[in-house]
């Protein structure tokens, strides 16, 4: 028995050694490409860890390398990422400047996908800044670039609904958000966003019971996604509508939960990466 185990062990070692020996190691990448991949990897790692400044630095490094290697598609992606990081750092003007580098380029350098993403993200940032007119123009540009089956069509529709709601057109916002809210292919995050817009529109139209149900549905979707700020928004919506429905006790509980989430969400990002 021991002899058999010994033979199997020997065979395994022989097989491994043969496999190692027969495989020629792949050639190393050129130095600039290695550096580029290292910078990109570091930037994404930093972003996942909430280290926005480091992510910004590494994306900048990656962009220089991509531009020096004539990788225009990669450069466009990195510029979009730099804009996103700048937006997360609350440097919205810098974020818009990065996106405009893609959108205002006259030569056909950047892929259509990147232009669509840039236009959409510009619209999101402008909406957050309350510049709805400019946001609408940018969103129209994104819609124009988005064919019927483009992957971002649900994001575009949700943002369109959000802009309608913020402009006071609750009926249209509700109609549009309802479609996205039911579309499974929109993805959980965008479905939850659409449900929140739907609830907001219903709240505005004084359909408080419906609003409460949809805020609840959005909350149930946001919780497994682990998005603290969205959870807080949902809870605040629930608190408002519960109060309007005269359910004071429920409203107070929702408001307290929202405030606890708001208080701890920043700390949770830091502790998650300790």
């Amino acid at each position: 028995m021991t002899n058999a185990i010994y033979k199997i062990w020997l065979l395994t070692v022989l097989f491994t050694v043969t496999a190692c020996g027969s495989s020629t190691p792949p050639p190393r990448e050129p130095q600039l490409l290695e550096k580029l991949h290292a910078a990109e990897k570091d930037a994404r790692h930093a972003l996942n860890g909430g280290e926005l400044q480091r992510a910004q630095h590494s994306f900048n490094k990656a962009l220089i390398l991509q531009q020096s290697l004539d990788d225009t598609a990669g450069a466009a992606t990195t510029m979009i990422n730099l804009a996103t990081v700048a937006h997360q750092l609350h440097e919205d003007e810098a974020a818009l400047a990065w996106l405009d580098k893609i959108l205002l380029e006259r030569a056909p350098l950047y892929p259509a996908d990147s232009q669509l993403t840039a236009a959409f993200r510009k619209a999101v940032i402008l909406t957050n800044l309350g510049r709805f007119g400019e946001a609408d123009t940018s969103l129209q540009l994104a819609e124009k670039s988005c064919e019927k089956k483009c992957s971002q069509r649900f994001n575009i529709d949700t943002l369109r609904a959000r802009i309608f709601l913020l402009n006071g057109n609750a009926e249209t916002a509700l109609a549009l958000a309802q479609i996205v809210g039911k579309a499974v292919e929109a993805g959980k995050e965008e479905q939850a966003n659409a449900l929140r817009v739907q609830a907001g529109a219903e709240e505005k139209l004084q359909r408080y019971a419906d609003a409460l149900t949809h805020y609840q549905s959005a909350l149930e979707m946001d919780k497994p996604l682990g998005l603290s700020s969205r959870i807080a928004e949902d809870l605040n919506g629930l608190a408002r509508t519960a109060k309007l429905l005269g359910r004071e006790q429920d409203a107070a509980a929702y408001a307290r939960r929202a405030s606890l989430v708001n208080e701890t969400k920043d700390k949770s990002v830091l502790s998650a990466h300790e």
Binding site: C20, P26, R44, V124, N262
Partner: protein
């Protein structure tokens, strides 16, 4: 008579041959020493220049004297005088003295942030006479890491203290402003309900107004209704957004207060230990740089090897996530 007769021709003049060999070797060695000495500037005429330093810290015999980045001399001696000052002698190559003036200043600098010390001599004013051997010049210490840290501490600490006081003071401007905003939020809450009521009343009036009067009063009422709707939208939006905004301000202020406290404590604890730490850091940094170089090489090598290639994560591609609500 010699004990053993040197009959072999090759042993003839053996002493002379050995002497010549030794002489050549000595001459060769002498030439090497001379050449090395000449290269090192041992035979270059030098002139002594003196200066006084308040302390001998970081000054030692042999440290180079540089002018515009070129070595033109070195520190030759250090001595403590009766007043406790340090008398320093430097030797500068005489041919370079013409470049320096009587008001030249010698400053002790570090090569790099934590490099070795060098004495940098400045040219001086053009209108002053040329520096001559045996002259005395002024000395100053350029900011080293320790001094730079102390200077930063001196400047930053009062600011941190001020920020801390401003954030902690319940009667301070910042806290008072927040209090006012909170009051405003409560008022806006009331205003929103009031505006809703106003708009509803206008709606009722519009329905009940007499048809004859409608032509005259109607447009006016419609315009009034539109204004009421706009005001209602604004107040409702403010009502919705302000609590979130206030929460963000609260949390940011708390974070800022805690950060200032932490910085304060860290600076107070770290600064006294710095002078000792800097010495150790220089050594450690050198070793770390060496280690990092080797580690990066090893990791890069390993990541391309067959058995490990698959387990090294490939960098993600594409734009980072952002949706319609980010």
């Amino acid at each position: 008579m010699t004990l053993l007769a040197d009959k072999d021709d090759r042993f003839k003049n053996l002493f002379g041959k050995a002497a010549l060999f030794v002489l050549l070797a000595v001459l060769g060695m002498g030439l090497v020493f001379f050449w090395t000495g000449m290269k090192k500037g041992a035979f270059t005429p030098k002139s002594p220049i003196y200066f006084v330093a308040d302390t001998g810290l970081d000054l030692k015999e042999g440290i180079p004297v540089k002018f515009s980045g070129f070595k033109i001399g070195k520190l030759t001696s250090l001595a403590l005088d009766e007043q406790g000052h340090v008398q320093v002698e430097i030797e500068i190559e005489t041919k370079h003295l013409v470049l320096l003036r009587q008001d030249s200043v010698v400053s002790l600098k570090k090569e790099g942030v934590i490099g070795d010390g060098v004495l940098d001599i400045s040219r001086g004013s053009e209108d002053k006479p040329v520096l001559v051997g045996g002259s005395k010049v002024l000395f100053e210490r350029a900011n080293g890491l320790e001094q730079a840290v102390m200077e930063v501490k001196g400047r930053v600490m009062p600011i941190i203290d001020d920020v801390h006081k401003i954030l902690s003071d319940p009667d301070g401007d910042v806290r008072q402003t927040l209090k006012n905003v909170r009051q405003l939020t409560a008022e806006i809450n009331g205003l929103a309900s009031e505006m809703r009521g106003t708009r509803q009343k206008i709606d009722q009036v519009l329905v009940s107004v007499d048809k004859n009067l409608n032509n005259e009063v109607g447009p006016l009422l419609h315009s009034l209704r539109q204004s009421a709707v706009q005001a209602e939208t604004i107040t409702t939006k403010l009502n919705q957004d302000l609590p979130g905004l206030l929460n963000k301000v609260d949390s940011s202020m708390e974070n800022l207060r805690k950060t200032t406290e932490t910085i304060n404590k860290s600076v107070q604890q770290t600064v006294p230990q710095l002078p000792g730490m800097v010495g150790e850091t220089r050594e450690t940094m050198g070793k770390t740089r060496e280690m990092m170089g080797s580690t990066i090489e090893v990791v890069n090598g390993l990541s391309t090897m067959w058995p490990l290639k698959g387990s090294v994560p490939v960098p993600e591609k594409g734009p980072v996530r952002m949706d319609s609500h980010d």
